[in-house]
């Protein structure tokens, strides 16, 4: 288990950058990696997402919290191209990416995980990892049948996969089918796999859901490590202790709208947030593994 004090440098930078910012919804950040404007998604009569302005600070760990049905997952889906907006646009690294299909979003360096883990069950753990390596020559149909063209690259991808599996303590499961992993291990695998893409921004949808306490600690450590490795993290979580522990900034969503944002200690004392969110949350904490 990594000691919390060990990783401080990037955290200090992130905290310093966010220090002077007024904690109010839609406030601008010094170095945003994502800027979203007027993002609206309706399902029939229900407005699931209605975000007028939002910026995500580069290099920081930002938590997106809010009661069930607040629109967090839908917002993730929109940003990553898995769902289409009714209105609005957003940019990643200053490039407008609204309307970009998911695979292109991922290639640009913005990789997400899913609330319901998507381990590829009948692939081995190592193949789950290797799959995610980028720019692989052997993935082209024209070269696939000619192994000498891609063998070296495949070896490199395997080595990197093994390195990550070791870091995520899954190396013992290297040749098992992903289906043979526990729920928590699948979450670890999904996160490790996302890192194979070498993303700049990692978006985690409820990484702790259904994970046992022991694994939770190591997951927490891994998320902090992402920041120390220079990545930006945006994650959805219900576990308030965890949010307080690892996030540099917290965004609160309720009924599709951003109702508050700011540093964790300030936001979590906000009366509006406690009303909108924490009350509802305490009722729903027991609901561990909801669909």
């Amino acid at each position: 288990m990594p000691a919390p004090s060990q990783n401080t440098s990037r955290r200090d930078i992130a905290l310093a950058a966010l220090a002077g910012i007024t904690p109010t919804p839609g406030v601008s950040k010094p170095d945003p990696i994502i800027v979203a404007d007027h993002v609206v998604r309706k399902f029939g009569g229900l407005t699931a997402v209605n975000v007028s302005h939002l910026e995500i600070q580069r290099g920081a760990i930002t938590a997106l919290i809010g009661p069930n049905g607040a629109g967090k997952t839908t917002f993730f889906n929109l940003l990553t191209g898995f769902d289409q907006v009714d209105e609005g646009s957003w940019s990643f690294n200053g490039v407008k990416i609204s309307g970009t299909p998911p695979h292109k979003v991922a290639r640009m360096g913005m990789v997400r995980t899913f609330q319901l883990t998507k381990a590829l069950y009948r692939l081995t753990v190592i193949d789950n990892m290797r799959l995610a390596a980028t720019k692989q020559k052997g993935e082209s149909i024209l070269r696939a049948a000619l192994p000498f063209l891609w063998n070296d690259q495949e070896k490199a991808a395997t080595a990197r996969s093994e390195e990550l599996l070791t870091r995520f303590k899954l190396i013992d499961k290297r040749d098992d089918f992903a289906a043979a992993l526990s729920g928590g291990q699948r979450k670890l695998l999904e996160m490790a796999r996302a890192l194979m893409v070498e993303p700049e921004l990692v978006m985690l949808d409820e990484p702790m859901a259904g994970v046992n306490p022991a694994l939770k600690q190591s997951l927490l450590g891994h998320i902090k490590d992402l920041r120390e490795d220079g990545m930006t993290v945006l994650f959805v979580e219900h576990d308030m202790d965890m949010v307080r522990d690892i996030s540099d900034w917290v965004i609160v969503m309720a009924q599709g709208v951003i109702v508050a944002e700011g540093p964790p200690n300030i936001v979590m004392r906000d009366k509006a947030v406690i009303d909108a969110y924490l009350g509802a949350h305490h009722d729903s904490t027991l609901e561990q593994d909801r669909g």
């Binding site: 990553t80 898995f82 299909p101 998911p102 695979h103 292109k104 991922a106 290639r107 990789v111 997400r112 995980t113 899913f114 998507k118 381990a119 590829l120 069950y121 009948r122 692939l123 193949d127 789950n128 290797r130 799959l131 995610a132 980028t134 692989q136 020559k137 052997g138 993935e139 082209s140 149909i141 070269r143 696939a144 049948a145 000619l146 192994p147 891609w150 495949e154 089918f177 289906a179 043979a180 796999r193 996302a194 194979m196 893409v197």
Partner: protein
């Protein structure tokens, strides 16, 4: 009962022309269904396109055979594009519906009076369109041994057909063990996860559909050439389902499964038929129970029964991995 004859018939069938046709059809389906999870219920359509391309272009348009074969491949690519472009972005069941309908449309067009001049209507096309192929036959005398017996033309089809199967299988093996094949298998498991990792799922599904379709058209070539005739009703839905039977019998997503499945399927079909025929002929089975004319139907019933037993006791197919199948239940 003449057991030598029964063995000869059964083994000849096990390695025969039909086995080759269904092995190729199932190899194509294995690419679609076994590796990519695409539900193609219109494999018969790809066979029909291959078979009719050869017959029509040679007989009605005087193409040389090699050019007709190339055109057949091209046509199967076009069919795959037509099927895939509108459906592969949608849920898996759309492809299933569209392919089953498309194969029927192809069959009905082939049967229609409108195109009678070129496609021969419900009688199909019979002619010497395989002449270029059979002219090359070095085995004009055929083969007559206690276990295998083929006439000259059949022997040539069998030899070249198995050569084709081996080449196709080798290419398949190279493809599915490559990173490209890994993407296909991942798509079978969960498309969205694959998208989230930066892969263009639509493109891969299209490539899979095209490649499996081309192999299906190869089966059509063998079908047409071996009989020197094409008939629309040979390319009905039943053909697709027999190809699935062959695939699942062997074990989906195993490279060699289609061959093993096809050999076993045709061996059993002919073996049961010959056994019944002789048993009825020799009076071991009373006439009131099974008549000679009913043997043809009853062999299918028995094979069906055998398949049911297989699915109950070995649902992963003969070469499949039970553990892997159980994982499908998302255990």
């Amino acid at each position: 009962m003449d057991f030598i004859f029964i063995a000869q018939q059964s083994f000849s069938a096990a390695l025969g022309v039909n086995t080759i046709i269904f092995a190729l059809a199932a190899i194509g389906l294995n690419m679609h269904f076994g590796y990519t999870g695409l539900l193609n219920f219109g494999q018969a359509g790809f066979l029909a396109v291959g078979a009719y391309s050869v017959a029509t272009l040679v007989v009605s348009f005087n193409f040389p055979l090699w050019a007709a074969l190339l055109a057949g491949i091209l046509n199967s690519v076009i069919l795959a594009l037509l099927l895939g472009l509108p459906t592969l972005r949608l849920r898996a069941d759309y492809l299933a519906i569209v392919t089953i309908a498309a194969a029927e449309i192809i069959r009905q067009i082939a049967r229609s009076a409108t195109f009678n001049k070129y496609l021969g209507g419900s009688d199909g096309i019979t002619g010497k369109f395989g002449k270029d192929f059979f002219d090359l036959n070095p085995f004009k005398d055929g083969l007559d041994t206690p276990f295998l017996r083929y006439n000259g033309n059949d022997l040539w089809v069998v030899v070249t057909g198995w050569a084709l199967v081996i080449v196709v299988l080798f290419v398949m093996w190279l493809l599915v063990r490559s990173p490209w094949g890994r993407v296909l298998k991942a798509i079978r498991e969960d498309e969205e996860a694959v998208r989230s990792l930066g892969k263009n799922v639509y493109l891969y599904k299209m490539q899979s559909l095209i490649i499996g379709g081309i192999v299906g058209s190869f089966a059509g070539f063998v079908y047409a050439l071996s009989r020197q005739s094409v008939q629309p009703d040979n390319y009905g839905t039943a053909l697709t389902f027999f190809a699935y039977t062959v695939l699942i019998l062997g074990g989906a997503a195993r490279v060699f499964a289609p061959i093993a499945g096809s050999i076993i399927f045709w061996f059993l079909l002919v073996f049961i038929e010959q056994m019944l025929r002789q048993a009825v002929g020799a009076g071991y089975i009373p006439e009131w129970l099974i008549g000679v004319n009913q043997v043809g139907q009853i062999r299918f019933m028995l094979v069906g029964l055998g398949l049911m037993m297989l699915m109950i006791f070995r649902p992963q197919g003969i070469f499949g991995d039970r553990k892997e199948l159980a994982l499908d239940a998302r255990a």
